[in-house]
Symmetry: C2
């Protein structure tokens, strides 16, 4: 068997904590540790899970010591143990870390807050896994861009996509936050059209003819996208649905499921037992989807905390060369995260190494 | 001078109260009275304003009496005094009132909650005032449809409109309500595409090629529309803005105005001294508006409580024959309501007849 890929995570926020758990759920990679600068409840959970925790900065190391918490060392110590580092630090911080990674010859993955130019490659597994194989670095694009590319690539592969025009309703802030970006009882349009997601999708596939408009809405559950697509030809609705069914990461919801709103879909994820109630897929309302001649209209939900997690796992396999086939990596990731069994498949991943559950076994 | 048009309002809710005040602000029509079935704070305000109040049903008459409030009679008494009745009762109630109006040969105006077929004519002043002149009845289309038609007609008149595809963010409920339709921290897509507003716009102008998708959002300030328009030819942004400037009922907002969100625009209306802080116009973000070749993208705000009020006043003039020219009626209505002076023009309507202010004068 090939060597297990040693993965480090720098930044234990909304994305970092999920990447860390998702890495632990794979059988061909191992989490060597997590670095962060916080010293509060978040790092205590990590330690309870038995994950090696490293101080992200010398100051954080001092603060940890003052707080009576242990650390396994500093960022340099963590980097020494890793083949690939996933940088999940806040926007623009990650770009500053890049010279450190490059100096050590360490492969690294950035998230969508950074610019394409920092890595020269932007990643969505179903679109361009193969071009990332063996690279030094890639950028997993943002949640909105990931959903946009996933769906448009499905239409492109079916030969149906001419151009796509989307309106993106962006949730105001992440649900755990009480200190940032929340809005109440108003709507805040992004001041520029096109919004950045359209051009961002073109960093993954320059051939996509896509324009996006975006608006901030006062809720924290998920994003919602509406699309008007010009197809290459008139077709039947069933052909479009078949194109979307070609992706394990697009879920088709029917009216009789009663999944009428964002919060209902999220409740389904909770009931299914998904980790953190996460929706990794694009959840698309299939009965609402409408074809008029050569035009196509549809809407779907994007869980902005979760959708990039499977992509990040695939990106680790691509950079490390642990897998050279996109479909094979996607299948492995999907199986480990409970994706691919359809809308009502309860996940049954192996207990993550070092999980609280595993630790508490006799 | 022509005879003053005698106007009755049936239903004193969100729209009815505004129509009543707007009628009183005109110099060529008079409010003969208002009918409603409520007996609470709402009717007490009417009486404080010196407006004749009629019990909408016999039961409401009994309840009024029991509550120690006076009424000027029943609905029949009100109808006897009017040339035109504006029915602002709740959705579907209005359609049931139609036989009563018809029996009396009374001209009537319904609101957008009713079906087009009930009147056979659907009204937006800038689109089809002239076809309503002298008719027995018309329907002022809903807030969303009014905004859609106003903007698309402006593009059509400039020879720019081929087809329009819109995403409509609908506010959850009216701000005064605590008992109906509110949602929190979620988004609720309308289950069908196209949503009803597109076909509804075609009841005003059957030539409009328009498709709409709609979603309920958790705020109560206003609706927000995003449009992707296919134009007849490539053009400059300035030509599009010029087309919109042709309507006094479309306001163009610039970035340096700082009107970044729905609530900011509403606060501007309050600061200007608009009645009830109402925005009668479509408020469109001009700097955000983007032209790419023969495609056009833009977004605007729709105050769903207010936008149909000027249209209703114009419809009264059209049905009564008091005015046969759309532009002349629009100018009269605009002047009385403080519309047309641009984004920062404070209204200075004459004190409404019977207003609290007028009543309190020596």
């Amino acid at each position: 068997m090939d060597r297990i890929v040693r993965v480090a995570v720098n930044g234990y926020g909304v994305i970092g904590k999920r990447v860390a758990d998702a890495v632990r759920a794979q059988d061909d990679m191992t989490l060597v540790g997590v670095a962060d600068i916080s010293t509060d409840w978040r790092t205590r959970v990590l330690q309870a899970k038995g994950v090696a925790f490293f101080a992200g900065t010398p100051e954080a190391g001092d603060a940890l010591q003052a707080a009576g918490q242990q650390s396994a060392g500093g960022l340099s110590d963590l980097l020494r143990e890793a083949d690939v580092i996933v940088d999940c630090t806040p926007k623009h911080v990650a770009a500053e870390n890049v010279p450190i990674y490059r100096e050590r010859g360490l492969k690294f993955i950035l998230q969508g807050g950074e610019k394409h130019e920092v890595t020269g490659h932007s990643f969505v597994a179903e679109a361009n896994f193969e071009t990332a194989v063996g690279r030094d670095a890639t950028r997993v694009v943002s949640c909105n861009t990931t959903a946009t590319v996933r769906t448009l690539i499905a239409l492109k592969r079916a030969g149906l996509l001419k151009r796509a025009r989307g309106t993106l309703l962006r949730r105001a802030t992440d649900p755990w936050e009480s200190h940032l970006g929340g809005i109440m009882n108003t709507l805040v349009p992004e001041p520029e059209i096109p919004s950045h997601q359209g051009p961002d999708a073109q960093t993954v596939d320059p051939d996509l003819d896509v324009v996006t408009m975006a608006v901030k809405v006062p809720e924290t559950v998920a994003h919602l996208h509406y699309w008007a697509v010009q197809m290459t030809r008139p077709t039947e609705k069933e052909a479009v649905l078949e194109a979307f069914r070609g992706s394990s990461r697009i879920l088709l919801m029917k009216d009789d499921h009663g999944l009428v709103a964002l919060n209902t879909v999220k409740e389904l994820m909770a009931d299914l037992g998904r980790s953190r109630n996460d929706l990794y897929e694009v959840a698309l309302w299939a009965d609402m989807l409408t074809v008029q001649g050569d035009e196509l209209f549809y809407a779907y939900m994007v869980d902005n905390q979760a959708i990039v997690i499977p992509e990040t796992i695939d990106a680790i396999r691509a950079l490390s060369g642990r897998e050279t086939s996109g479909p094979r990596s996607i299948e492995k990731t999907d199986t480990a995260l409970g994706i691919g069994g359809g809308l009502f498949a309860a996940p049954s991943p192996r207990p993550a190494e070092g999980s609280i559950e595993a630790n508490q076994r006799p």
